[in-house]
Subunit: 440 residues, 2 copies
């Protein structure tokens, strides 16, 4: 029997998306103590920041101190520039130092993703001592801060092993931690980017992994729950770039209209300027078109086939790069494979095109007496255009990565634009060879 | 000082990608006991299956029984059909029943992702009793099977709360579990699809979440480490579809050439058949082209602008749908927004196009006496084509989802193909209105 207008975790969760920041802060303050804290923990960084800034300054301190240093760093990154100093000053001195260190990492590096607080035990501790240490830590902080791994470091701070809470509970209380620890650990270099971190977690099904610097010294821990959000974010960015737009960096229905249009107009205009070269190329072949208007009929078909096969190839290569399946040094293997694939795909499309023209002509007779030569022109052009498109589409991500750009910028529209001009040149060149003396 | 040719976890990890399944099995057998087990745990399901099948039948039992039921289910799903029964028969009876139940879930449902084994405690247990139960469980099984959450169920098997191992360690040993448990739990319906599961994990930063059936009865646990792999996989599928290809379902450099080409040829051919309509549309306007060859020059520019703006819009909408930011019922809000965005973007491109033609003519004079009318035709067509492309691109994912297809199939090439024919019709219609009496 629900109490009349009772403020519960679930009732707040339900109306949350429709509330202003001020209303959210008020609801959170009216929730029972523990439920309020849990609710606050469960929010994303942007929402946590909104709530914090909507609270009276005197209450912010209580809430921000509930968070682990890595979460505080996210909150501060989500705050407007002029509020960051104020939020930082609410922390106690050691936490402030930890957060400042995290903020110095780029947001998309392993170092920016990790929690600098972790359980450190000595190899000569007994299991009972380590458990006692775990217990004291757990009693001092919010339970969800406590990782389920403890790390064994040597005297230089270098990582030598890890042990889970479960190992400790199952182990002989008198045994040394050094005997029970696991030493085959997948570690993450502190400057590794998010994509690399995500790949390691996905490949090895990790629940947590230690971050180490170049000398093997342990810096912090990344946990799988943080990585899930990162993987979604990375994929969103890549997908939006692949669609020929800047990454929106905000939910589609929430981003302001003007901001969204600006993010889209940039690439569209750039592509449009590139595509203008097709008008120049077409002008170059104006005479041929005037002599044989029939050639113009197949222009969209030919160039779009190049664009489609090119964007297919670039997308496959970009994703394989993001997953670490393909590296820069694999470029020659990939290009060779794509040229072969392009030749096969071009032959398939060329054959369909050839049949379309000859059969259609047999029925309607619209392609004139030289229809067979036109069909051969289309057949040959498609092989050339699709092979070239596939090759260019697969090569472009390598060039972009080599030059230090994000390969995902080799979007379908970008590749299509690149390939369109070449497609026209290939088509009209094949035509002038095959049709010379008849139509041209 | 490394032993000569010592077989270690790291040496095996290094050469792993280059080994055949038989060699992999041999390496694994030669690793020290614990390192071998850890290595096997760290493999993905496909590799685990490969190794299992390469082992002599007498040894398979040992290795497959190391795995938790959800991992066994993945291994069996990765095995060829004729090997599945044999692998299942290696399990002990209760595990076989659990795995069979998991295999009945679709692979991409929460039920197919969960581990049916979890720690269940009664609310009237004391903390000390619950910890003892944890300890016995941990001693009986491989440590990594043990989740760090325990769940409190009522007598009907309905979930009433959860508690972490850390809560237990930090808690008063004499306290009742029911008093310490957390009751505000984010649960996952058993039929939720992977995308929904991933979204819940990403939004709330979950480390684990219980799966419940429609009546609230607990069925198992999904952990963040499983979700990381799923999110990567889902994103890869979507990206490959967006690039106009079937999902490869295998790493790019590992998939057989013939299989890859078949997966790509299907969509390319379908798109090619659709694109043939452009030849039909062009034939319809053949007379206009013959009269004013200049019109043909801008065909690639106009139709590619429609395609580019359309694939931009469809990609943004598809990703927003996958992230749950946009639902089916939001269609009208989205379309309205996209029509407005399309009109703005079309005006931007139209203006660039207008300037290009008038300025280029001022320099070269190649566009003839009616260049201004041609520029106006291009300007007007671009507004129409880009607005239509944007609208069609954003609408198509809704139609596909409504019909039960994956919206990600509304790939950039698919949208471009759809928009190309319409683009031609819009262009030549605008041209015939503006140029009637002069060029036409």
């Amino acid at each position: 029997m629900p109490t009349k207008r009772a403020i519960t975790y679930l009732s707040v969760a339900e109306e949350w998306p429709t509330l202003s920041s001020a209303e959210r802060a008020r609801r959170l303050q009216r929730l029972p103590h523990e439920a309020g804290h849990e609710f606050f923990f469960d929010l994303g960084a942007a929402d946590q920041t909104g709530v914090l800034l909507a609270l009276p300054p005197g209450e912010r301190r209580h809430w921000i101190r509930l968070l682990a240093p890595d979460d505080v760093a996210d909150v501060i990154q989500a705050a407007p520039d002029d509020q960051r100093g104020g939020l930082l000053s609410l922390l106690d001195e050691p936490t402030r130092a930890e957060v400042a260190a995290l903020l110095a990492y780029a947001e998309d590096e392993a170092g920016g993703l990790m929690n600098p607080r972790y359980m450190r035990v000595r190899p000569d501790m007994t299991v009972a001592e380590a458990l006692g240490y775990f217990r004291r830590q757990a009693q001092q902080r919010a339970a969800r801060d406590i990782p389920t791994y403890a790390y064994i470091l040597d005297s230089q701070g270098k990582l030598s092993g890890q042990i889970t809470l479960t190992d400790l509970i199952a182990g002989d209380p008198a045994a040394n931690v050094g005997h029970l620890m696991h030493t085959n650990i997948i570690t993450i270099p502190e400057e590794a980017d998010q994509e690399t971190v995500a790949r390691l977690f996905a490949e090895h099904g990790l629940a947590a992994a230690p971050v180490v610097d170049a000398t093997g010294r342990m810096k912090g821990v990344v946990t799988a729950d943080d990585v899930v959000a990162v993987v979604e974010e990375e994929a969103t960015e890549d997908i939006q770039k692949l669609g020929g737009s800047e990454a929106l960096d905000a939910p589609y229905l929430k981003i302001a209209f003007g901001r969204m249009v600006r993010k889209r107009a940039g690439w569209l205009s750039a592509l449009f300027l590139g595509e203008m070269l097709t008008a120049t190329a077409m002008a170059f072949f104006e005479e041929e078109i005037a002599k044989a208007v029939i050639l113009a009929l197949f222009v969209p078909l030919i160039i779009s086939s190049g664009g489609n096969s090119g964007s297919q190839a670039s997308t496959l290569v970009i994703r394989a790069m993001a997953l670490g399946e393909v590296r820069l040094r694999d470029w020659w293997r990939v290009i060779r494979r794509e040229i072969a694939a392009g030749a096969v795909l071009g032959t398939v499309l060329g054959t369909i095109g050839f049949l379309r023209i000859t059969l259609w002509h047999a029925i309607t007779g619209i392609y004139g007496e030289h229809y067979m030569l036109v069909a051969v022109t289309v057949f040959g052009s498609l092989i050339g255009v699709v092979t070239f498109g596939t090759m260019a589409g697969s090569f472009l991500p390598f060039i972009l990565r080599r030059l230090g750009f994000d390969p995902a910028s080799a979007s379908a529209p970008f590749v299509a634009t690149l390939v369109d001009v070449t497609g026209l040149v290939i088509y009209f060149t094949v035509a002038s060879v095959i049709l010379r003396g008849t139509l041209l």
